[in-house]
Symmetry: C2
Subunit: 462 residues, 2 copies
């Protein structure tokens, strides 16, 4: 998988440790021994994840005229998944070892060591190389979770937890198109949970059974599909760079013919250089007219664009950029992670884009026991709190409080000190440069507003 290794100090272990230590991400159901690779998000994790979603929605919906939002159900009519091809086609080929009772993805056998399988306790050899490994033929297993609607087994209906949000968009195409006051190209964007019953989740929050997706289906005249496909590959790569992913850790890789999903005529992965190597960050697929044609056939409802004036009609082709929220958050954390020695002390710092940072500024009285400083600091905090995610902290040495904020990626520290009591100025400390300057306490809010609307896309080293 990895053909290049990241060059700096970040490892997945360090990210997992920071995430745990500062309350970004906890193993789920931990007091009951955990549940496979499921994770719960703590305070800073929620704030960071919400910011990732907000920046995506901004770029995809609010700042454009041509894309609207949608939020469809997780449980859709079961025929949706027959039409989409998921009931028959959304499968992994699995093999069992009759000796060690472990189960593997047949198409991953060459990449795997026994240890990498969840319950593996065997020596580090590839399955099949171990003398006593006795593999079955591959069988296809569907990745959709199934459940039953209706209070009792005998009269219920089998339904699925969606494995992608996209189908909820396609089945609403007619509803949205009737309200759209424009002809294609136009898009429908959706953020929501999806579920895949994979046997090889892993790499922390990179791949989990339950995950959040940000998908957008862009409906275009058939003749324009190639052009829009290239447009969206570029636009999405720019978005990742805009919020801090370094250029040299991003690449675009086209799928070859065997790799393409059943619905796709072309797919490019925007890959990121994760600690385990280059891996998919976001996929951009040209789905052609596959989905609208399938749902037209299975539902009997014609899903096409009809121009009310000219009578022109066609089945749009679809370009889909699809990104996992959790995976995007992980990439941003990895790329932002840095360790350095400052004034002979080590610090860990998350150099997150201010638009992503869970906390925008920390208000810190230099001496936590000074009533005057505390009063000034609280007043400033309470003013800022009405507008921004800010923290107040008066506990312990100032250096320790700074380091705590550095670890959660807070871009600015506002310190109230002796001079504040004299002239009502505070220092503002920059997380990255560590530069400090003084400004009037009354001007902090507008200064912060100004900082937060700046374009922070600055190249990182490496």
């Amino acid at each position: 998988m990895a053909d290049t290794q990241p060059t700096d100090a970040v490892t997945m272990d360090k990210i997992v440790s920071l995430a745990r230590r500062r309350g970004f991400v906890f193993p789920s159901s931990e007091i009951y021994g955990g549940l496979g690779s499921a994770y719960d998000y703590g305070h800073y994790g929620v704030l960071l994840k919400d910011n990732v979603k907000a920046r995506w929605l901004e770029a995809m919906v609010r700042e454009r005229d041509d894309i609207v939002a949608l939020d469809s159900s997780i449980i859709l009519h079961p025929r949706v998944w027959e039409a989409s091809g998921h009931v028959t086609g959304f499968t992994d080929p699995l093999v069992d070892c009759r000796t060690c009772k472990l189960r593997f993805r047949a198409d991953h056998l060459n990449d795997l060591e026994h240890e990498e399988v969840r319950c593996g306790k065997r020596p580090s050899k590839r399955p099949g190389e171990t003398p006593d490994c006795d593999l079955t033929d591959a069988r296809q297993f569907n990745l959709m979770f199934r459940t039953r609607v209706g209070a009792v087994e005998e009269t219920g209906t089998d339904v699925y937890l969606r494995p992608e949000t996209a189908q909820g968009i396609f089945v609403n195409f007619k509803n949205v198109a009737q309200l759209a006051r424009r002809k294609p190209p136009f898009g429908i964007a959706q953020i929501g949970k999806s579920f895949r019953n994979e046997i090889t989740p892993g790499n922390f929050i990179f791949r989990t059974l339950e995950f959040e997706q940000m998908e957008m289906e862009y409906f275009v005249p058939p003749g324009e599909a190639d052009e829009w496909f290239r447009y969206w590959v570029d636009a999405r790569a720019s978005w990742h760079r805009r919020y801090g992913i370094r250029e040299s850790y991003l690449r675009v890789r086209e799928h070859d013919a065997e790799e393409l999903s059943h619905y796709s005529s072309a797919t490019s992965d925007i890959e990121y250089l994760f600690p385990m190597g280059w891996s998919e960050l976001e996929g951009v697929a040209n789905r052609g007219d596959y989905d609208l044609a399938q749902h037209t056939e299975h539902s009997g409802t014609k899903l096409e664009w009809v121009d009310g004036g000219s009578g022109e009609r066609f089945v749009p082709h679809v370009i889909e950029p699809a990104l996992g929220v959790n995976r995007s958050m992980l990439a941003f954390m990895i790329d932002a992670y840095d360790e350095e020695v400052v004034a002979e002390r080590e610090r860990t710092v998350l150099r997150l884009h201010p638009g992503l940072a869970p906390v925008k500024a920390a208000v810190l009285p230099l001496i936590g026991k000074s009533e005057d400083m505390v009063a000034k600091a609280r007043a400033l905090y309470e003013e800022l709190q009405r507008h921004y995610a800010v923290e107040y902290d008066d506990g312990g040495a100032i250096g320790r409080r700074y380091r705590r904020q550095d670890e959660i990626g807070t871009p600015w520290g506002l310190t109230i000190d002796d001079q504040t009591l004299e002239d009502d100025t505070v220092t503002i400390r920059d997380r990255d440069s560590l530069a400090q300057e003084r400004l009037p306490i009354g001007g902090v809010r507008s200064h912060l507003a100004d900082l937060l609307t700046r374009d922070w896309t600055t190249p990182k080293p490496g």
Copy 2:
């Protein structure tokens, strides 16, 4: 259920019709005949719902020092639901009619007519009154959706889709408490989907199988539980009023002993006068130490507060305000709905609080065919779009465009007209008063910023 009827013109049918017509809410999987009472949210529905969640998070987390956010998995370890009492206790008593084959909740028989049951085609009589109705004894049916983790049936693990987000908070209590830099009272807030396999969902998005919850668990010293219970009933009722719910349509109703859930020692419902009568909007429960004690017993992990300094330790009691996002959105739409005659023309208007309104302002060139007006309007729109959810509309007569914005609840209309071309002023139209005033085009953004941070809690009539 209903002992008072709403006095104005709003009915559920009108809300459903507006929601469909303007793309707030669509029946889910409609092209496949729908799926019970499942709904998908269109563009304005997503924006409104997102605003409801943002206002809740603001009030519960950002504007306070004592509550942190959490986002736990939908699929938790199955033992969580044994400990919580849901496996044995989260049931509805159901009876079947052997003649008509319909199924009813035994505890709702007296409220029901046959027509109200999903598949009912019988005359309008109560079950049991119909001569040929032949009811079975009541049986208990669990309301949790069950599914299976693991790729194959024989080795998988039965798990549940959470029926409430709260348990994800309790099982993370120790993680969060270790990071909390304060002693109780403190709270953990969570927004997320829950699932209940109910046989009597209904009333549009009031009760659905899949829904979003906003729950907060507030951990307090046992002796302070009653006081904090009263605090949260008041605080939550104030929140609904702050965002526009009229005083006279809100009431607080205490549960009597028989009505209490298995975990609760006291519960008060904040009820709203929905078109179908007074119904629960939000529940505030005193859960005592039930949940922490149960998880301590079942997991073997002591869930208690320990003061690092003094060594003081206790099991906190829990006060829980729990609100459905979809139900809250419905109440806000109902309360905001108004019809009136203006200048001899009828208009429908959603008088939504600006903090909830999906679109904050519409930019409208008076004459859509005037290139000069369009250019000015586009420039203003593109400036505002960087900061706010705004719309641009140049299609059709201005009156029609205003009415469209009224129906989706846009508080302000910004019109570019002949005078704009002369003196660079625009008119700003107020959705509710219909007052128009002129202001310089360069001052629109800051004027809008100012309007949006005002306190809009003004009493409505009735």
